[in-house]
Each structure stands twice: as C-alpha cells, then as structure tokens.
C-alpha cells in the first residue's frame, strides 16, 4: 500500500470510483478504500434508473448535466455501460398532484429539459401494457431522454478507467480512523496501514455517518432499507420506466427482458436491517399487477434489499465541511446516487482540483441544515 496520496476517497461505489476516475484523469494521485467489494453498497443494489424530472432546481440541474455525461460515458471509459434512454413516465393521480407536476415541468423546461404532459389516453402510447383506469391516472409527465444504465458496469468501468490513469483502489480495506492537525485532514488509518493526505472524500453511502464521526462531525443521514425485485425475462414490450410518486412504485423492462422494480412497504422503518420481507413481495405483486394486469402470469425470480442514505431534504450532501479543512462530502443521495453521479463527481473534481465552487455545491453543503428552512425534494419513489 502507498503511504501518500493527494486525495483519499472512502467508498468504492459509483460515486467513489467516478470521482477517482475524474481526479486521476487530471493527474491527481488518488487512493480509494472500500471496506467490502466494488459496488457492495447502494450502487450494487439500485434500480438502475436515470431520471431528470425533479421538484428541486438543484437535482434537475445535476440530473440534466449527468445525462449529458452518461450519453458519452461508454465511449469515454472504453466499456459499455448499457445506457438506454426509453424515458420516464410519471403517473399523476389527482388534480393537486397535477398542479405540482405542472410546476415541476415548468421549472424543468426552464433548464432546457424536453418533457411532456400526457393525457390519460396517451399513456398507453408509451407503455401499452398499462391499465390507466386501474392505476387511477388522470395524466402523466414524460421525459424521453430519461432512462437507465447498468450500475455494476458503470461502477467497474469507472474503477478500471481510474486505475488506467494511475489511481490505486484498495478493496476489502476498511478505514479505521482519520487524523487531523489544526482542523485539517492529515492522515487516514486503514486496517492495512496508514496513508498521508490532505483531502478525504467521504463517499461511504449510509456508512458516511461513521466516517464523519471519526473527525467529530455529525451528519443527519438516516439509513432506510429498500426492497427491489426482478422477474423472469420476456419479449421486450416497453422501454420507459414507469413511476408513481403517490404509490411509490417504479418499474422498467431491461434490455434483456426482465422487469426490475420496487416500492416502499407500508410500515417502513429506518435502520440497518437487510432481510427481504414477504410483505414487500405481496405489496409489489399487487401494485404491479394492478398497473399492468397482464404481468400476473410473469414469475418473480428474486428480490433483494439495499439502503437509501436519506437526508432531511432528500438531497445529497456535497462539498467541503466548514470545520474540517480538506474533508469533502459526497453522500446522502437518498436513493439517487447512481443517476446523479456523473455530474456530482465532476463538480467535486472541479472543487478539489481548482477550488472552483458552484451554485449547486453551495446549496447542497451540509451548512444548509443549520437553522434555515430547508427545501425538500418531493419527487421520490421506492
């Protein structure tokens, strides 16, 4: 193990490896420490969706810029990440939600996003198997450039490209402590040795709170167990991701033909539980077959759990911590870490390399929770 690095990244998920890549490409000496294997946390359990339709300006901006990067990423990294832009169809169930959707769409369009408001009869033009009546949909919004990509492939492609640019990635290596000197980062201790550095990036997902505790910083993040399922494969029938903010469901058919989807179970509680529940299978099967009755003949193969790293406003915590110089945050994605990672890692790279900040980084700093009224992201599913 090397004993010195310009930047130490803690966490080998898509954000940790993505940031390692962007930094290494610019000649920065990076070391990544992952306690388990690459993509072992939220990245490896996620629903793979890439969405630009949000209620807050910051998330929309991050997502639009991320899609632009995703569109070129396979070529840039030299490995296919299986990006498919089949769009996201967000079902709207009542007039109040429609008013909110119209507001969201107006804001999204002001940022240059192409997004349409659909009448109920237009919904099946996009996803023919939906039962619009049973869904209780009075309309929908649809953005054709939303989509999904393969999170494992993206994570591994970032890691491989980072290594090619000289980054050192240590898996199965837990960080056990962080040393500071005069309120600035000076060293990271791992189970395999120490490494000197002035910059630490905390990209440890739901475990970021433990990392921050090592330097006496308290984070407001709370872990939520989320469940997700996959069916057997069948003939490709639709390309869009279907979601409903009211029912909490999301599902899409992947390129190979399987449906991947999830929703929150009714009595959801926070915590580090990882056991899948029967309640999820039942609730998911009922909601999915209500939305698309023809799917009742389809077999569910398996379901698994992962964590949402949830912040008080359901938006990520990014940028440097005020009280500890060189301690950069990259977590709290609240279920959206994969889809926002390309732009988040670019912004953090610009911050680390050039000291360049941006409106998005300023607005998503940990400082926002101090006393001020927070603006919550309300377009959350799963």
């Amino acid at each position: 193990m090397k004993n010195k690095a310009d930047v130490v990244v803690i966490g080998g998920g898509v954000n940790g490896c993505g940031l390692a890549y962007t930094l290494a490409k610019r000649g920065i000496n990076v070391a990544v420490f992952e306690r388990d294997y690459l993509s072992s946390g939220a990245t490896g359990a996620c629903g793979a969706g890439i969405r630009q339709q949000w209620s807050t300006h910051e998330n929309t901006k991050l997502a639009i810029d991320s899609v632009k990067i995703f569109e070129k990423l396979s070529r840039e990294l030299g490995e296919d990440i299986d990006l498919r832009q089949g769009g996201y169809l967000i079902a709207v169930h009542n007039k109040e939600d429609m008013r909110q959707s119209e507001k969201n769409v107006e804001m999204q369009r002001s940022l240059g996003l192409k997004v349409d408001i659909l009448k109920p009869e237009q919904i099946t033009d996009i996803v023919p198997i939906l039962d619009v009546k049973a869904m209780n949909a009075i309309g929908a919004t649809f953005c054709p450039t939303d989509g999904h990509a393969n999170p494992f492939k993206t994570n591994f492609a970032y890691a491989n490209a980072a290594k090619q640019h000289g980054a050192n990635i240590y898996t199965h290596t837990e960080v056990t402590g962080i040393k500071t000197k005069n309120n600035a980062i000076s060293e990271v201790k791992t189970e395999k040795g120490k490494i000197k550095t002035n910059i630490v990036v905390n990209a440890a997902g739901v475990w970021s709170k433990d990392i921050a505790n090592m330097v006496g910083v308290n984070l407001p993040n709370i872990p939520f167990r989320k469940e997700i399922m996959v069916t057997e494969r069948f003939k490709p029938m639709f390309e869009a991701m279907v979601i409903s903010l009211r029912d909490g469901i999301y599902f899409s058919q992947q390129r190979e033909g399987q449906i991947v989807g999830g929703l929150p179970i009714p009595e959801e509680r926070s915590g580090f539980k990882t056991m899948p529940t029967i309640a999820f299978m039942q609730h998911m099967a009922r909601t999915l077959t209500r939305y698309a009755p023809v799917l009742k003949h389809l077999n569910m193969l398996r379901h698994w759990t992962g964590f949402y790293d949830v912040t008080p406003d359901a938006r990520p915590i990014l940028g440097e911590i005020k009280q500890v110089k060189g301690f950069i945050q990259c977590h709290g994605f609240s279920g959206h870490g994969f889809m926002l990672s390309p732009m988040v890692t670019k912004l953090l790279c610009d911050l680390i390399v050039e000291g360049k900040t941006s409106e998005v980084l300023e607005n998503l700093n940990l400082e926002r929770f101090k006393g001020k009224k927070i603006k919550r992201e309300i377009s959350v599913v799963g």
């Binding site: 690459l38 490896g44 591994f156 990882t274 029967i278 309640a279 099967a285 389809l298 569910m300 398996r302």
Partner: protein, 92 residues
Amino acid sequence: MRKNKAIICRCEDITEEDVIKAIDEGYTDLEELRKKLRIGMGPCQGRVCIQIVMKILEKKTGEKVPKASLSKSRPPIIPVSLGTLASGKNEK
C-alpha cells in the same frame, strides 16, 4: 491452449473461459464476478454455478473463498408468479 467452452452458468450461458477471463481482468471477488457476469442472477439463483465458480476462483487465486462471502438467498427462492404473490393474506 485449448479454449474451454464448458458452460458454467446455464441461465446466462457463461463458459469457463468467460469466468477465467473475468478473474484475469481483476474480478477476484465472488460478488464482483457475480455482478460482472450475472452468474447466480437467473432462475437457478446460483445453485448450478456458484460452487463451480468458487472452485475456479480458488484455483486461480490460490486463496480460499470464505463461505461468508457467498450470496445471500433471495426470496422467493424459486420463481413464483406475480398473480400468486398478489393473492392470499397479508404477511408481516
């Protein structure tokens, strides 16, 4: 060298050659191999392939794969139709 086309994972048509290539590329963790090759993600959930992949991995790396690193079982274990799951009483 003779190419080995023996099928290791029947759900995803993964050959011994594919597994060895992935290990050579640096995917030396059973879970990383699973996510790279989709072994164990099909209807059999790894009951056919995982033990064989584990043996290949141990042979290649010379290290024992800890039992604890084997994938967790993922319900419903055997494929069950969404119609069946949607019917019946609520479970907690």
